[in-house]
Symmetry: C2
Subunit: 193 residues, 2 copies
Amino acid sequence: MPKLWTETIDAHRAAVRDAAMDAMAALVAKHGLVAVTMSQIAEQAGIGRATLYKYFPDARAVLTAWHERQITAHLDQLTAAVDPAAPAIARLNTVLHTYAHIQHHSARHHGGELAALLHRSEHVDHAQQRLRDFVQQLIAEAVHAGDLRDDVATDELATYCLHALTAAGTMSSHEAVHRLVTVTLAGLTARRP
Amino acid sequence: MPKLWTETIDAHRAAVRDAAMDAMAALVAKHGLVAVTMSQIAEQAGIGRATLYKYFPDARAVLTAWHERQITAHLDQLTAAVDPAAPAIARLNTVLHTYAHIQHHSARHHGGELAALLHRSEHVDHAQQRLRDFVQQLIAEAVHAGDLRDDVATDELATYCLHALTAAGTMSSHEAVHRLVTVTLAGLTARRP
């Protein structure tokens, strides 16, 4: 049974929400996404069904909240992976590798089904935009340093990168994901005649 | 009113099916995908509602058939674009440009909505496989000719290409699509130290 009796009301609320989301994630991992009910989530989280309904109107809302938390965690993971003292090209390399491995891992665990359910929801658009901005900023710095091609706009290069790296979801091994990042980065590299 | 009185029964059937699919395409372009009914399709195709039901159980089946026909037409367009006498790298270049422009055009016209409805259906998987095989074969020939990198397996390079080029759906102009293909091809190019 999770510890819900924390100091403040806010922390208590966050703990209930987190418990529900953790429960959702566990249930989804076990049964797939379609079959999960509010009763199951409440039971798994060790909270009352009535309490759960105070926080989420339905199972889909728990799923969306869980997905939002996942995405935020992934974005934090991407930014944390970067050594701020490293040159832009090295930071970009790290971020693209991290992103590709997240794609690879996510696709293994809840690829098509989750994508179909959550596709084009608002929080995904928002997170995608943050990610794009982050990658574009790194690309712009690396172009400025002369390490990447300057004949294509940085927003187009960022879009190319992120689409190319979705291929990581279909790759069979970590080595293949690594090669995908190498190939994708090669597309960004400045051509010098 | 379309000409349905053709010579043979097979041709007649094909004509009815085509008329229904054309009607679907016209209705979708006008009203979006969700709102289209069997009655509307029959009326637009100039055939009876009872006749339409002999060919398709519901509007979704017409949509799927239409999508299948679109995809086949796109694959034919890709193979037809290629000059068999040209070097593999030139053929690959042509195919990737053609594919990227199809992606660009399709996304403009029925991107998210259609993708969500038809995502992961069997005929899409089949067509994707044919496309992948076709692109992989061209890449393999170009690698053999020494025009592309040989340090990554050709199936991985094909997967990279097709994912990168889905970015064409989000590009704002034909010039941007062209640059995307250039960048994607650069990723495939052999590195010589």
